[in-house]
Amino acid sequence: QNTSTDSSADSSSEGEGKDKQPIIMRLAENQPDNNPVSIAMYKFAELLDEKTNGEIKVEVYTGAQLGQEPETIEQAQVGIVEFTRVNSVVLAEVASEMGVFTLPYIFADNDHKYRVLDGEIGQEALDALEQYNLVGFGYMEAGTRHFYTTKPVRSLEDLKGMKIRVQPAQISIKMTELLGATPTPMNYGEVYSGLQTGVIDGAENDYVSYYTSSHYEVAKYYILDGHLSPPALLVMNKQAFDNLSKEHQEAVQEAAWEAALYERELMFAFQEESRDNVVQAGTEIIEVDVSEFQSAVQPIYEEFPQYKDIIERIRALQ
């Protein structure tokens, strides 16, 4: 199955003496340059350069120039790029072990989330990536997702029958159905017009995407239900990682961890900034009884029996 990686193999071939050529690696990122995750990826490149005295150079390709996330994961699997930063929702389509973090209300709050992710459970999910020819590093913040709609939603009842655009992922579709809304898959680029003309009644995303996509202009009600909080992470082609020297491997791990911590800070700040911006622009932020939402999605955990044990362990850390 493994065709890949002649590229990484010879790029890391042993050079002689001090002035050997640096190892060049590629990182694919789908957000544009100004997004916190992209900034953190540049930071990762910078940190790795420092830690290896310039022996490893990472070229960051932002703005989905190398393809969308499902594609860049494949590219990292076969060695077209060495690194890619992806959301766990997309990665879960390849590595089901990641799926548990994309379940609704799996984390009680951000403290709990990072207790789980930075601990044993998070590490096990990263270790599992090996069977997909990937190596995973520290988790990053990708925001907490809420619904936003063209008509006010003050309780679960109001959400009934609304057509909500969701990500094309099994869990998102199931969850929306359980909440009584109608999941309506739609190309992200069509959502703005869809909200404007009424093809859909709402969508769901974190503050940052809600703001940067301008969806707040056409869907003025932001419902603080916090249904999903899936992390993002940096993954690497396994051969490319294995071919590195022990010191270089450690440098990559350290740089990725530091970049992830940096990203979390940036992202939390950017979430707040985006919230302020949409409020200023006239968005009404609606507090709802989250427990109502939580109990409505309960049956979803039965739909994924493979996560049963791990869910219990996650709950135990609460």
Binding site: Q1, E74, Q77, V78, K163, Q170, P183, P185, M186
Partner: protein, 174 residues
């Protein structure tokens, strides 16, 4: 030889029919999506995914068709000034290159099929390998058709004649 020709003609026909069916299915699925959503208020999540899958299949089967009929866009600004003999040589070079492209398409199609084979498309739960399987199939057909062209094997496609007379007929009508 004749049985080969018969087989190729069968392949021609299947290629054509399957492409057409996929095209029609794409339209039907998309219209069905609208009907379910706007009339029955029951949006589907599978329709878009399946329409896209049909499009990828239909598209690349079409590409093979274009290789077979030599209908892909070329630039003739330079080559049209060359002697007919050199033009024939260029045509052969083109066939050989496309044949090579087809061989690589099979090889890499297999790899892509294998890595995506264990994944499912999110809404339909169809094996994601289906997205790349078309590369393998079309690669094979491209190799077959270009090989026939390289070896100057004529298939005597009578349908081509009818197509020509057809267009003549429509031109007269207009």
């Amino acid at each position: 030889m004749n049985s080969i020709k018969r087989m190729i003609r069968f392949l021609d026909k299947s290629l054509e029919i399957v492409s057409m069916i996929l095209l029609v299915l794409m339209i039907i699925v998309t219209v069905y999506q609208v009907i379910l959503r706007s009339i029955f208020n029951n949006p589907t999540s599978w329709s878009e995914e399946i329409a896209l899958l049909f499009m990828i299949w239909f598209g690349y089967l079409g590409v093979v068709n274009g290789v077979k009929d030599r209908t892909h866009i070329t630039v003739e600004a330079l080559s049209s000034r060359l002697s007919p003999r050199i033009q024939r040589i260029l045509e052969k070079i083109s066939d050989v290159l496309i044949c090579g492209f087809g061989i690589l398409m099979i090889k890499e199609g297999v790899v892509l099929y294998n890595i995506s084979n264990m994944q499912r498309l999110p809404a339909t739960q169809i094996n994601k390998g289906m997205m790349y399987l078309v590369l393998i199939i079309c690669g094979f057909m491209m190799v077959i058709y270009t090989t026939l062209q390289i070896l100057n094997i004529s298939i005597d496609r009578e349908e081509k004649l009818t197509l020509k007379s057809n267009t003549n007929a429509t031109e007269e009508l207009l």
